[in-house]
């Protein structure tokens, strides 16, 4: 009993000592501040969320803005958290992921002086956004089409795989584009599709990703495209383990397993975020929907020192041909 008491007293003493250095709490009111809100399991996924975070860090470096980030734990906290940032006088608030659409809509109208942006904004048919809310959307199916072309040309077995995160329409766009791209090269190609789950956790489950990938590789698939956040880290790991190839998503993931990542479908969320912060700083922020695709390099595929040995000139020619055709509107990529 006495020892327990002593430990408690020591702990208390530490606590009080720790409590003393609270003086430097003064906030600079005039600094330009950006808040970023991620979805569950977001930050650190090396994929979608990290792309947004990179954009924020780059903007913070270039323009010397202050920034804060958080991940709301429960659904109701999305809106409450956004309100807290707005009340605290943040100048720009960026939601990463379509799950913030509803909350953004509700909060933006109450704080007309704050600029809001939502990545992958889920627009309602016929909806007009308030002038202080920007919905940033990407035509992921176009980039997925291109990596589908590359996959089909690279594959030796003629069997392609796809591992999606959560089984929702957003991810179906990736799948549809990929399959269409593969069939553009070889109409008879076989594709195997799997989803990691039906909850947001499906985007943060590398063990499941690895399991699904090993299953597909075991059936003769030799290229797997993943669209599954950090679940995909498991897909890439599996590719490395069995000596097959994976295709990264959202961020350039080629470096994660050089030689085993064929390419990455990059969705330049970082650029969109950077431009949003810059526009807000310069007073040129505009609300409304903004769509990024191949023509403005908002979407693309990655070739760098980690995968240049895997991509032949013939493959490059074919994929650039497809890209030009999509930009020209000669190919219309399906979304589902």
């Amino acid at each position: 009993m006495r020892t327990a008491f002593a430990i408690l007293m020591i702990a208390l003493a530490f606590w009080l000592v720790g409590g003393c250095n609270t003086g430097d709490d003064a906030t600079e009111v005039d600094a330009f501040r950006v808040g970023m809100v991620f979805d569950v399991g977001g930050k650190g996924d090396k994929s979608f969320n990290d792309s947004a975070y990179r954009g924020l860090l780059r903007a913070a470096d270039d323009f010397e803005v202050e920034h804060t980030e958080f991940e709301p734990g429960q659904d109701a906290d999305r809106e409450t958290g956004l309100r807290k940032l707005a009340q605290a006088g943040y100048d720009v608030i960026i939601g990463v992921g379509f799950l913030f659409s509803e909350a953004m809509r509700n909060v933006a109208v109450d704080y007309p002086d704050v600029n809001f942006a939502c990545v992958d904004f889920d627009v309602r048919p016929g909806e007009t956004l308030p002038p202080n809310l920007a919905g940033l959307r990407f035509r992921e199916e176009e980039g997925s089409f291109l990596v589908g072309v590359l996959a089909a040309m690279y594959s030796k077995t003629g069997r392609l795989g796809f591992v999606g995160g959560m089984d929702i329409p957003l991810i179906h766009k990736f799948e549809a584009g990929y399959v269409a791209g593969a069939r553009y090269v070889d109409p008879g190609i076989s594709t195997t599709v799997a989803y990691a789950g039906t909850t947001p956790q499906a985007f943060a489950d590398p063990a499941r990703g690895k399991e699904l990938a090993l299953l597909q590789f075991g059936r003769g698939v030799d290229v797997i495209y993943h669209a599954s956040g950090s679940t995909g880290n498991g897909v890439i790991e599996a590719a490395k383990e069995v000596g097959k190839t994976a295709i990264g998503v959202d961020s350039n993931q080629n470096y994660m397993a050089p030689g085993n990542v064929l390419t990455s479908m990059v969705k330049k969320v970082d650029n969109a975020v950077y431009m949003t912060v810059q526009a807000a700083l310069e007073g040129t922020f505009e609300g409304g929907l903004r769509e990024f695709g191949l023509e403005d390099e908002g979407i693309g595929y990655a070739v760098d020192q980690y995968n240049e040995d895997l991509i032949t000139d013939e493959m490059l020619a074919k994929v650039e041909e497809a890209k030009a055709a999509i930009v020209a509107g000669e190919i219309v990529v399906p979304k589902r």
Binding site: T22, G73, K84
Partner: protein, 366 residues
């Protein structure tokens, strides 16, 4: 003796909470932050404004229902881990009823939706109840399995059948029937400046009524007496002529109905849509709430309020400091562990004391 028991019963959770805050403080120190500053921010978030208090009540509301569900089953000796599944099914049935009753006036729709929510949760819980009563299959395993089924089933239905057209978000269209009013308007009318954006709604009143109802059933009805008797000693209850199987099934139904009522806050009061995976573990938090509340209805109220405070403050800590919200999970977990350990220690002490008293009494008698 009885008074001692009761005092200890109230004191031990309080001591546990205080000790948990101390442990949490050490964790914060280890991260290199000041515990005093972090706790100040936490409590500022919860109590620093009327808005904060409103959020505390809003966050506590579903936990009251989930906690009552676990506590009620526990009183019958059943460990209902299935609150999560039951609240999903209750919420889905509630949402479905709301969609079917478009245009029906609120005074008819609201009671019907409340009934639908309770019925959904109750029916779902009756399955492990029957399996336990008829075949002796342990309810822990079955309720966990039923959680998976419920989450998968509602997910499937929302994404494939009921999803709002043209939307990525996996949720139903807005449910216009049977919406519970938010309390900001009426409270402002009587001078309490709750911001209009505060999500606190009439569901909190239903939660308070549910606490009274749980108390009334447990302590003022024959059924409640039977539930408690079965919970204390099923063999003795059986011998005393209580239909143990029937009591088990009914206790599960009532438990599931409480879990289903989470829908009054989540569907009828706040979101007005069924969003896939909206709960993020409310049913499991209910287990912690019931444990902390010592499985009594009033205890559940206070435990849910405490968790409401922590969850509300957690967001403030999350937004305005570098300390992650997981700190709050640590606080909650440590509290629960200490409560459980404290109960065990206390029970042992009391037993030892009783034995001593009995021994002395025996000594005097001889």
């Amino acid at each position: 003796m009885v008074r001692w028991n009761r005092l200890a019963g109230v004191l031990s959770p309080l001591v546990a909470v205080a000790a948990a805050f101390l442990v949490g403080g050490l964790v914060v120190l280890a991260i290199g932050e000041s515990p005093i500053r972090i706790y100040a921010i936490l409590f500022r978030g919860a109590f620093g404004s009327v808005d904060g208090v409103g959020h505390v009540l809003f966050n506590a509301c579903p936990l009251i229902f989930a906690g009552l569900a676990v506590a009620f089953a526990f009183r019958a000796g059943l460990f209902n881990i299935g609150g999560e599944g039951q609240l999903y099914i209750g919420s889905f049935v509630c949402a479905w009823a709301g969609l079917a009753l478009v245009g029906v006036p609120a005074w008819i729709a609201i009671p019907l939706l409340i009934l639908a929510a309770a019925a959904g949760g109750g029916l779902w819980a009756s399955i492990p109840g029957v399996l336990k009563a008829r075949f002796g299959v342990h309810e822990v395993i079955n309720t966990i399995m039923m959680n998976f089924i419920a989450i998968g089933l509602t997910s499937y239905l929302v994404i494939n059948v009921f999803k709002e057209a043209g939307q990525m978000t996996p949720q139903t269209v807005e449910i216009t029937a049977g919406q519970l009013p938010r309390l900001a308007g009426p409270l402002r009318a009587i001078g309490i400046p709750l911001p209009l954006a505060n999500p606190l709604n009439a569901s909190i009143l239903i939660a308070l009524a549910a606490i009274w109802l749980a108390w009334f059933i447990l302590y003022r009805t024959t059924f409640g007496y039977e539930v408690r008797a079965v919970g204390l000693n099923p063999q003795a209850a059986e011998n005393a002529g209580i239909n143990v199987r029937r009591t088990i099934v009914l206790a599960m139904v009532v438990s599931g109905a409480f879990a289903g009522l989470v829908a009054t806050n989540e569907i009828m009061g706040f979101r007005h849509r069924f969003l896939d995976n909206f709960s993020s573990g409310l049913g499991f938090m209910g287990i912690a709430v019931a444990l902390l509340g010592k499985n009594t209805p009033v205890g559940v109220l206070f435990a849910a309020l405490l968790f409401g405070v922590l969850n509300t403050g957690a967001l403030e800590v999350d937004v305005f400091t570098d300390v992650p919200r997981e700190l709050i999970l640590v606080l909650q977990a440590v509290t629960i562990i200490l409560v459980v350990v404290g109960n065990e220690v206390l029970a042992r002490k009391l037993r030892a004391r009783e034995a001593r008293v009995a021994l002395e009494a025996a000594g005097e008698a001889s």
